[in-house]
Amino acid sequence: MSSKWVIKDAGGNITNPCITAEESFVAANFEYYEAFVPAEVPDLTA
């Protein structure tokens, strides 16, 4: 399933802030990465 990922370098610095990819692609092509976590959005109010 496609998701969003943050790509980093060995020092933990972000080298690409957000890409769309399946996890298998990210694991095969990048050594340091983590799932992108969007900011929480509250429900709409009336």
Partner: protein
């Protein structure tokens, strides 16, 4: 999974094109010459009360012609657009799109557009193109975000939204939307997002959003909550959102950045 659309050609031969919206390893399905267009992700807009910036557009880059065979392989990375900003704060920078592979020197990059800025009066900067020009790789930086979103530039640096009209910036790409693209040419939308004020969530107009490669429109609310700005089209910046009331501002939603894309076109001849 890339989306394949066939293009008609002389003598009954077709020249397919592939719209790639998800990072992947791509193997050419047939030998031939291809054109590769690359766009990063646009930045999303900021939310503010006195300072509120639109997102910038991503860079655009192109290899006009590259010979490929079915033995080749390419690593295609697609940058996502900056996520929606809700409540006071800066927008989110879009992701970089990159290509690398057989016959390409190194990695070629189209940077994502910077998120709109609320923390200072600066404008968000457009994404930049980088990488070797050995295979004819060239492109342009994305348009700066002002209040509305910046646009992708295909023939020159991307346009910046007018600070007078507040409309999202318009791309210089040819008309018809990206699906009109053919044979080495990429097409975009014709309209940046309109701006609006004091619209409830139910009254939002679709016209606030930018068409392909065009920036999203700005929104302002003095009376209500749940207001939205326009989203950027493909690769473009989202509009900023402003409230004159800091309590309401927590519910203001700025426009998202447009996702990046990589378009591969087989060429006649």
């Amino acid at each position: 999974m890339p989306v394949k659309l066939g293009g008609g050609g002389g003598g009954g031969k077709t020249y397919p094109q592939y719209f790639i919206v998800n990072s992947q390893t791509w193997v050419p399905p047939e030998d031939g010459n291809i054109c590769i267009h690359v766009l990063g992700g646009g930045g999303s807009g900021a939310v503010g009360t006195t300072i509120y910036g639109g997102g910038a557009a991503a860079a655009y880059g192109k290899i006009a012609s590259l010979a490929v065979t079915t033995a080749g392989s390419f690593t295609l990375v697609v940058g996502a657009g900056g996520n929606m900003r809700m409540g006071l704060g800066d927008g989110v920078t879009g992701g970089n799109s990159t290509i690398a592979g057989t016959g390409i020197t190194g990695t070629l990059t189209c940077g994502g557009g910077e998120g709109g800025i609320q923390s200072s009066a600066a404008n968000a900067g457009g994404g930049a193109v980088s990488g070797s020009a050995n295979e004819g790789w060239a492109g342009f930086s994305g348009g700066t975000g002002t209040i509305s979103g910046g646009a992708v530039g295909v023939y020159a640096t991307g346009a910046t939204a007018s600070s007078v009209s507040f409309l999202g910036a318009k791309t210089d790409a040819g008309p018809g939307g990206i699906l009109a693209s053919r044979y080495g040419t990429i097409c975009g939308g014709q309209r940046g997002g309109m701006w609006q004020s004091n619209q409830s969530a139910e009254d939002q107009s679709d016209h606030i959003h930018g068409e392909d490669f065009c920036g999203g429109g700005y929104a302002y609310s003095s009376v209500g909550i749940n207001s939205f700005s326009g989203n950027g089209g493909i690769g473009a910046g989202g509009g900023a959102c402003r409230s004159n009331n800091s309590t309401y501002a927590g519910y203001m939603r700025a426009g998202t950045g447009g996702h990046g894309i990589i378009l591969i076109q087989y060429l006649p001849g």
